[in-house]
Symmetry: C2
Subunit: 304 residues, 2 copies
DNA sequence: ACGATTCCATACATTTATGTATATCATCTG
DNA sequence: CAGATGATATACATAAATGTATGGAATCGT
């Protein structure tokens, strides 16, 4: 009797899986269902909304415009459902359950593990999900419970804590300096191997704004993957921006042209509703303390 | 095989219905299911999240703290699912389908019907859902597609259009003046029958800020229902604030103490993603035009 | 060119979820 | 205090959704 009334919400989940995986079969595998079931869900949903969602073809389905228009809604449903389960996973006043933390690749891979490991040791029942990605996950939409952000949060209903400013400078590995020498001026940079971002990111925009004379500079190594850039720099491939607190950990990294610096304003953001949840509260506090330490350079602790 | 994996999303819908209606039976009626089914959904969800959600008692269930913590998530799911259906209801380039408009009680009942009726006449396939309530519905969370707001929208991802300022003045019905005379000063107001809000609303806060001498004034007629206040004023019960553009429609309403006025900044807000949707686009535009007219006083048209 | 793989569609069997009917208890009402 | 009402829980029958097995058609790789 669903026909005239609202369709099953499970259809939305199936719909999203098909959209994400591009085929009924792949979606079925992901969902733990079978391909005929997934096909039936899509059929039923198409009938319910009165529009064709996919043009059936072998080797995969092609989403229609209607389907693409519905995708963001289905994604919100999925992230909300996931957040609900996370919220349910913790008991009322014990620190337990899952908390999902989102941060940039660099912070997430280089800085947070040490902080979160310590937290995990203190609360063994706490399960931490770390999403290290430069794609922003939305805290309002509950894609993450807590996020480390480099932009000031403009939205309401968010609990935000300003940590301070992470400063970036130009660095190179000692081995690079030995081979190519130190650039002593901004102009001299043009004759060096530079490591930079592939896409137009916040870094690049900020750099062009503050140092317009560098506009049109050419990078000899690019990647849209921050860690790849870091590793390239540490391997002596060239000169690039590096977080100063992070550089303190590696004595082989040499600061160049110290008059050049970029700063990243750092915030920790959490949905207001979560402030009563113990597991989110302690994680939030641990992140605040840990990142403050990191910025101030008191970050002796590293991962073994 | 749902047991170890994610629970059915339908359980969330059932869960929310039980929360809202307070009993399995009432929820079942609302959902078009039966009471045993609803009970089984709750059982299954409790097992899935590993927490008791309701303390079973005859004459109704009592939600546990865990259930209350999950409620906002379930509500988001419900409004998102509803928004998805609305988005699906319109074809790609025809103006059809459902659009949900939210506005304050006064605007929603006195001003919008005329505007929306005209729009409806122009696009017969457009179905308009009007929520007239002073409780703010969240446009970001898709509780409404378009909202008329009296506060500047701070959030990102919103398409906002500033309409202008609606001015409120003190008014009374002619019959009241004939019986009680005109107050000629602010002080004289204290000897009159005043009509005002029950709760601490934006109006009251604004009034106390601009006219502190009125602090502690006592109302002889209060209600938290704006329309009841309007009707009371029009019935000659007393003096109260009334939107000036609205008062132009009723020759029997007399402006008092014209030096006193409050202003409401008015915005029309829509989620950015909806700007490509024809039905939302035309509704947005019609609201903008209609409310601009209203503010400027060119609102000759009224409902028959 | 040909087998392997992957895809969707369909027919049939089975499991699962739902509805019906009924029992039991509490509360409200006259 | 008795009867009506409305609540949950359980047993059983039924309807519905899912899984299994299979066929046909396209693509990929050797």
């Amino acid at each position: 009797m669903e026909s005239s009334s609202e369709p099953s919400w499970d259809f939305y989940r199936t719909f999203l899986a098909v959209l994400q995986h591009g085929s009924l079969s792949a979606a079925a595998r992901d969902l733990g269902l079978t391909q005929p079931t997934v096909g039936r869900h899509i059929d039923a949903l198409e009938k319910a909304v009165g529009a064709e969602l996919f043009t059936r073809s072998q080797q995969g389905l092609l989403p229609t415009d209607a389907a693409l228009a519905l995708k963001p809604y289905a994604e919100t449903l999925a992230s909300t459902a996931a957040a609900l389960l996370r919220a349910a996973s913790g008991s009322k006043d014990k620190v337990s359950g899952t908390v999902r933390v989102s941060a940039s690749e660099v912070i997430g891979t280089e800085v947070l593990p040490a902080i979160l490991a310590e937290l995990q040791a203190k609360y063994p029942d706490l399960i931490i999900e770390l999403s290290a990605s430069d794609a922003v996950e939305d805290v309002l939409q509950r894609e993450a419970d807590i996020a480390v952000r480099m932009v000031a949060p403009a939205q309401e209903a968010l609990l935000a804590r300003h940590i301070g400013t992470i400063t970036l400078g130009l660095f190179a590995h000692r081995s690079y300096i030995e081979r190519h020498g130190k650039p002593e001026s901004l102009e001299a940079l043009r004759r060096h191997k530079l490591i930079g971002f592939d896409r137009q990111t916040a870094y690049i925009r900020m750099m062009q704004k503050r140092y317009p004379m560098l506009d049109g500079i050419s990078f000899s190594f690019r990647s849209d993957h921050s860690i790849a850039l870091h590793n390239a720099l540490r391997a002596g491939i060239g000169i690039g921006f590096y977080q100063i607190p992070l550089a303190r950990r590696d004595a082989n990294l040499v600061r160049l042209l110290p008059e050049i610096e970029l700063s990243l304003d750092t915030w920790i953001v959490m949905h207001e509703n979560l402030k009563t949840s113990p597991r989110c509260r302690v994680t939030f506090d641990a992140l605040v303390a840990g990142l403050l330490d990191y910025i101030k350079g008191n970050n002796a602790k590293e991962l073994p």
